[in-house]
């Protein structure tokens, strides 16, 4: 049986999934990126290694997420794809009839409109990260509630208060204001859920025809409060797939499978024991002043990222460094 590895390295979480050729999940890991994507991937590989041993054969690797270029270079990816395509592929695999995918991650939120199994439209949040996972994280922390309990607490609300969801900064000051007036914590939290959903629908979902079946994916789908707020706002059922937080990774794995790779570039799970370092510098070659990152495995330069002109992609190129 062939096995494919999918990795989704986002701003908040790093998700790893190994799937078989039918798309069934052999192992799925949800890890915190905690500002260090390479370490997060290594931690994940370590867990896989201790469970399956390092002989586990991988027939293809797909990487997605905002650190996809970095991690793709580190692990030796066969396919590097954007999150929208990855999420759409995974959503369609889970439910071939899906017409709408709502995905809310750490820094991004997206809507993907699918008709007859083909992505026909999508949108992402523009310049603003209001209403994404990191904001919820921050607010939960401020109120002293573990993010895992956020949804359950919010669902206890009896009289949700109205919070301005247009902007993170305004939402926060609104929340503080309501809290100082003596509103209950759960009412504020559910009010926040409703505000985020309102903001999502009028910003990301603006002008989109949201038809069922609707899948809710991404880390924020763990939050039952947001799910219920969506159901109330849309008046229809929202399906949270069992592996909602791993959908990006699963999609990346499926894309690797689709690509029909003869021989994978995968560097193996042994990279956990290797010394992987990155060193950045500013290229003074022209006025663009690109920030270039050199990636070293065991002291050997394996990849370079960040150049606009492409000259640094040639690893032999090494003027006076």
């Amino acid at each position: 049986m062939k096995k494919f590895l999918g990795i989704d390295v986002g701003s908040v979480s790093t998700d790893i999934a190994i799937i078989d050729e039918k798309g069934n999940i052999i192992i799925g890991l949800y890890l915190r990126t905690a500002g260090d994507p390479i370490k997060a991937v290594k931690d994940g590989f370590f867990k896989i290694k201790s469970q399956f041993g390092s002989d586990l054969k991988i027939d293809g690797v797909g990487v997605t997420g905002s650190a996809r270029f970095l991690i793709g270079a580190v692990v030796g990816a066969d396919v590097i794809k954007n999150e929208i395509t990855a999420h759409a592929v995974a959503g369609l695999h889970y439910n071939p009839k899906v017409q709408t995918i709502i995905e809310i991650g750490g820094q991004d939120s997206k809507i993907i409109i699918i008709r007859d199994g083909i992505v026909v439209d999508f949108a992402m949040n523009s310049v603003c990260a209001a209403g994404t996972g990191s904001f919820l994280d921050h607010q939960a922390q401020r109120l002293g509630i573990p993010i895992e309990e956020f949804g359950d607490v919010a669902l206890r609300a009896q009289k949700p208060v109205r919070i301005a969801g247009r902007c993170t900064v305004f939402a926060e000051s609104d929340m503080i204001h309501k809290q100082q007036l003596g509103h209950k914590r759960e009412d504020i939290l559910f009010g926040l859920c409703e505000a985020l959903v309102r903001n999502y629908l009028s910003n990301v979902g603006r002008g989109k025809e949201i038809l069922p079946p609707i899948l809710f994916q991404g880390g924020v789908a763990a939050n039952k409060g947001i799910k219920v707020a969506f159901e109330r706002a849309l008046g229809t059922e929202i399906i949270v797939p069992p592996y909602f937080s791993l959908m990006g990774a699963i999609g990346a794995g499926l894309l690797a499978q689709e690509a029909n790779i003869r021989k994978s570039n995968f560097k193996g799970f042994d990279i956990v024991d290797q010394d992987i370092t990155t060193r950045g510098f500013e290229c003074k070659g022209c006025s663009n002043l690109c920030e270039i990152t050199n990636i070293f495995i065991e002291g050997k330069l394996v990849a370079r990222l960040g150049g606009r002109c492409g000259k640094w992609e040639d690893l032999e190129y090494n003027p006076s460094l």
Binding site: K81, I84, D121, A123, S126, V127, N288
Partner: protein, 315 residues
């Protein structure tokens, strides 16, 4: 005498004309550098924070010219068409620059206004020429030189060559395109590679042939916008609407990308019009890219890649 021209706003539309005009009057023409980090940093430091990114960049480009030239050309373009206006910030930009103490060479800002008279364009150039010579004939012949240069520039553009290839010596891929995308946006957003994040290069790499308004006859574009029940006040808005309609109606492209600067009021409105009238009713693929100060290419690549994937899968 050296005259400096900031490489922003309508530079990519009129530079060949300005250059020919000034050179015919015996001036040496120096354009500012291609937008770089220093220009961006200076712009953000000196400009008003409410302005859109293209207007902010004017500050940096002016400062880039500071020690290189004797005089800076920054026209006050009020109107380019019968009874429509340019963006108010275009009208006010010379004053906005002067109001900040930048310690720069004098700014020369002729008013170019074609709203109410057919000769408004020439009048502006005549006023401009008078700064350098009293000889009216010389100004007239310089103006003719300018028009000639503009005509030949526009003809090159119509062969689907981008302004960047003509003016900045950039080299873009020519063939092997899988799909065609029309970019609906202003030349100062699309062709400033800092603002657009090198959008054209990224799209080319993804196998996309890019078309923009510059490659179509301007009057055709504006005529296209005449279907609106009420004439838009803004020339730029008419351009965006007309471009989108022309590309879609003539089936020139597989999808359109609308580029909007964060904080631009008129464009946010026109974008809505384009969606309601042109793309939504026929389910035509469209994506809006909002541009601002952020310099990470990643978010842009994600959106463009997903859009291109979608177009290819739809085909």
């Amino acid at each position: 005498m050296k005259i400096g021209i900031p490489r922003i706003l309508l530079f990519y539309r009129y530079y060949p004309m300005w250059k020919a005009f000034f050179e015919a009057l015996g001036l040496e023409v120096i354009p500012s550098s291609i937008t770089n980090k220093e220009i961006v940093d200076l712009s953000i430091e000196k400009s008003v924070s409410e302005a859109c990114i293209p207007i902010k960049l004017v500050y940096g480009h002016i400062l880039d010219l500071k020690d290189k030239v004797d005089i800076i050309f920054l026209p006050r373009i009020v109107g380019l068409e019968y009874r429509t206006y340019m963006c108010p910030k275009f009208i006010g930009i010379p004053d906005m620059i002067r109001s900040v103490d930048l310690d720069i060479p004098p700014i020369i800002d002729p008013t170019i206004d074609k709203r109410n008279s057919l000769t408004g364009f020439f009048k502006g150039f005549f006023e401009l020429g008078r700064f350098f010579t009293k000889n009216s004939l010389k100004i007239l012949s310089a103006y003719m030189e300018g028009l000639k240069a503009l005509k030949s520039y526009n003809e090159k553009l119509k062969r689907e060559v981008t302004p960047l290839e003509i003016l900045d010596g950039k080299n873009y891929e020519k063939d092997n395109f899988k799909i065609r995308i029309g970019i609906v946006g202003h030349c100062y957003e699309i062709y400033d590679e800092f603002i657009s994040g090198g959008m054209i290069k990224i799209l080319n790499r993804l196998g996309v042939k890019v078309l923009s308004m510059e490659m179509v006859d301007w009057k055709t574009i504006l005529k296209e916008a005449n279907v609106l029940p009420k004439k838009l006040f803004w020339t730029f808005g008419r351009e965006l609407y007309g471009t989108a309609r022309y590309f879609i109606r003539k089936s020139l492209v597989d999808g359109i990308i609308i580029v909007v600067a964060f904080g631009c009021g008129p464009d946010s409105l026109v974008r809505e019009l384009i969606e309601r009238d042109l793309t939504k009713p026929i389910d035509f693929p469209e994506i809006t890219i909002t541009v601002d100060e952020h310099s990470s290419e990643l978010g842009l690549i994600t959106r463009l890649e997903a859009f291109v994937d979608m177009l290819i899968r739809r085909k």
